[in-house]
Assembly symmetry: C2
Homo-oligomer: 151 residues x 2
């Protein structure tokens, strides 16, 4: 993980479809070298994959919320089952497993407030292991597009 690798990661984070040729040119190395470097980064798991970033609004998901959730008992199997089943739900964008008073933060999306309400009634109120949850609307979600190794 030298500075060439860092530069590759940096550029591919900003544009995941950057052509190998263009990337090589930016770095001042041969395309074949660049290709091998990039492939190694992928193979070593440093680059985990490539994803198209999609507009939530275009996907008919204009409302976002964070659901702070507590479950009991806090057993390994209960936690794992909750994580897996919740991640599967199409309304769920991501799940943070937390230390502290809340066991999970669940980032959910819906097309409007009514659907959000219905989703929570269907998926959270019903479950026996969920002993409490607080829902907070998200006005805006900003993401840092550049993640470099911390020095």
């Amino acid at each position: 993980m030298d500075e060439v690798d860092s530069a590759i990661v940096h550029h591919l984070q900003k544009d995941g479809r950057l052509s190998n040729r263009a990337l090589a040119e930016k770095l001042g190395i041969a395309p074949s070298t660049c290709l091998e470097r990039t492939r190694l980064l992928r193979q070593r798991g440093i680059i985990e994959g490539y994803r198209a970033q999609v507009s939530l609004r275009a996907l008919n998901r204009s409302v976002q919320a964070m659901v702070a959730t507590q479950i009991r008992p806090l057993r390994r199997d209960v936690v794992a089952a909750f994580e897996e089943s919740v991640t599967r739900l199409p309304e769920v964008v991501s799940v943070y497993t937390m230390a502290g008073s809340d066991d999970f933060l669940v980032h959910v999306t819906a097309q409007d407030i009514d659907h959000l309400h219905a989703f929570l009634l269907d998926q959270f109120t019903n479950r026996r292991e969920i002993v409490g949850f607080r829902t907070s609307i998200i006005y805006q979600h900003l993401t840092n597009p550049v993640l470099d190794p911390l020095p």
Copy 2:
């Protein structure tokens, strides 16, 4: 946004570097048609971009935390300034602007607990507009790789 567009989005979310040819073959359409469709999706802002997904561990960021932050006064300019400056920090992955008792959730990363502590002392304790923040360690962050339009 018909079912062909949905399928394109779906596949490119799972693999953002899928070749146009392979994508066309999956959908049973001609490569030229597929290319135009994909370009239109990009142009209409439905596909916002392509990103390489990078391992936080490989980037020397093994510790994650969520910082629930309150600022005052809650004026438009103060909020905007906070969002922008915080998003710029390399330790910050994303910022949720919230309704409710917490004004922001800031997802931060650091190489270890000591660096996290130092980061918070440097960047949060100092700021005058921050009137309070609670930090919770994140054990695990799961992401749903598939986001389709809600029906």
